[in-house]
Symmetry: C2
């Protein structure tokens, strides 16, 4: 796959495994779409499917899974702590390789139109796909959830959908479609139980505190291990990568007399982020993906397939 | 490709590009075989082709390229500084993924038998494929080259081939077939022109000097840059990886008051070696290839193909 869009729909069902399996199956019926993982959260009664597809197929896969969610999930019977306003509650498109944010916005808008036209589910666009500035932030769009939206959608022009008539789908609610960057969730654990230290370090390294660009950070307690953690989101690893985040935390921790215990990646990480970290620490003068045996094999395979030799 | 054998045949022709192209073409005619690169050395009048194939196809590709070399290269008309005794001079098999050394030895022996039976070229086995201890070292097998071998092969039982009758092929000579480990060539450049320092550091870090296992190292001058270099071969990156070699050189250099300028990989490096370096320096507690987005995509693709869904 030379061009890859990731799609990470969130569904309002996290207790019935048959429903989640049915949703994943709807994605994979679409040629070119690949499910990378599913995450089921019974506490929140919510699940997440991560899939990838080429841009040509990703909209079909996304609309298919929203349709399946509308068949399988009835919001009127759904309870859970997490705010939600749709059976398929959130549908983010993420540029991964060979695709721009702008192309993903066009795909998100196309998906939104089809969700309304084919399924009768009204659509709101958020983050990079937002059509109104006050809808960039997902939490603002979702405030009050399905029950409040159902009351207000017809009466309050501020709650009118971006696509579709101002009425919720009776059982599937509404769908919030957006484009967000590829995000790496990365935690650095510290050899102390001093939560204040973790919070100070987080405040120093994150963009909001004048630290590294494209870095969000919070300090947390890891109660089970008796230590604290700086929990980070890297929203542009091309600009601020794992090694820069790690070194910034280590430096700020050292200034407080605190040592780093280790770090962990939550979810998935692009190969390029690990390669850039290796290259940085090894001070490699000639790193290129072309040095990597597996990449050369993949390139030779593509060449031979193009030449019709295999 | 789940199981990969690399094969790096050396040929006694480094001036005629048509010959090298013909050799590469002979490899790629075999299904499953992929040429990753060719290296042509006009000074030594010698060339190297790097290819990979699954174990089921690698012998066919290897025998095909030895056959093509016998058609295209006449050793009687060949001159060059590098010692050689065959048109295809050396044929090493290298286990890369999902294949043991023992399996590669069996493949090398099979290739050797076919080279004699199908092409009438006598074969010597070296390194892990050696049948006599005095033939483990390639340089010992090749001593005196084609011209001396031609004189002695029939008369001296010490020069009798491992497979075949004791006479050289008139134009293609003999072929030396072996199994060697995957090797990473890795150099660390130092901020000094003190060659003695580079030699001392090399002596301290290499296995022979009581340093790191599976590490060979020499000190060199980089005349063009006015600095010196510790040039290393890692013969088992699973045991001694890039980061361990880098840190050992940096430590020994620091003890001499010398700084590291940078490092470079020569040739190809397995992805796992870079990943292990990244994981080490980031102190990752949960590294697994399964965390890498591209690996998850590849695994999902294989699963979908198995299920017949794509």
């Amino acid at each position: 796959m030379d061009r890859i869009v990731e799609c990470v729909p969130n569904f309002s069902e996290g207790r019935d495994p048959a429903v989640v399996a049915g949703l994943a199956e709807a994605v994979e019926r679409v040629e070119g779409a690949l499910v990378l993982g599913t995450h089921v959260d019974a506490d929140h009664n919510r699940s997440v499917i991560t899939f990838v597809a080429p841009p040509e197929q990703v909209v079909e896969a996304a609309v298919s899974v929203v349709a399946r969610a509308a068949e399988l999930i009835d919001l009127r019977a759904h309870a859970g702590q997490h705010p939600r306003m749709g059976a398929c509650d959130v549908l983010p498109f993420i540029p991964v390789r060979g695709v721009t944010v702008e192309e993903c916005v066009a795909l998100a808008h196309e998906a939104g139109r089809r969700v309304w036209q084919e399924l009768g589910i009204p659509v709101y666009f958020y983050e990079s796909a937002a059509l109104r500035p006050e809808r960039r932030n997902l939490a603002d769009v979702r405030r009050g959830g399905f029950e409040l939206l159902r009351e207000r959608i017809g009466a309050d022009p501020e709650r009118a959908p971006d696509v579709g008539e101002p009425r919720v789908h009776p059982s599937a609610g509404a769908c919030i479609v957006g484009v967000r960057p590829l995000l790496i969730a990365y935690n650095v654990n510290l050899k102390t139980n001093d939560l204040a230290a973790a919070k100070r370090i987080a405040a120093a390294v994150r963009e909001r505190g004048g630290g590294l660009a494209h870095l969000k950070a919070l300090g947390f307690e890891l109660v089970s291990r008796g230590v604290v953690q700086v929990s980070m989101n890297l929203t542009s690893y091309e600009r601020t990568n794992l090694h820069q985040a790690f070194e910034a935390v280590r430096r700020e921790a050292a200034a407080l007399g605190v040592e780093v215990l280790g770090s962990e990646i939550v979810g998935l990480v692009p190969q390029a982020a690990l390669d850039r970290a290796a290259s940085h620490f090894l001070m490699l003068e000639n790193y290129s993906p072309d040095l990597v045996l597996e990449n050369r094999i993949a390139a030779a395979l593509r060449r031979k397939e193009r030449e019709g030799g295999a």
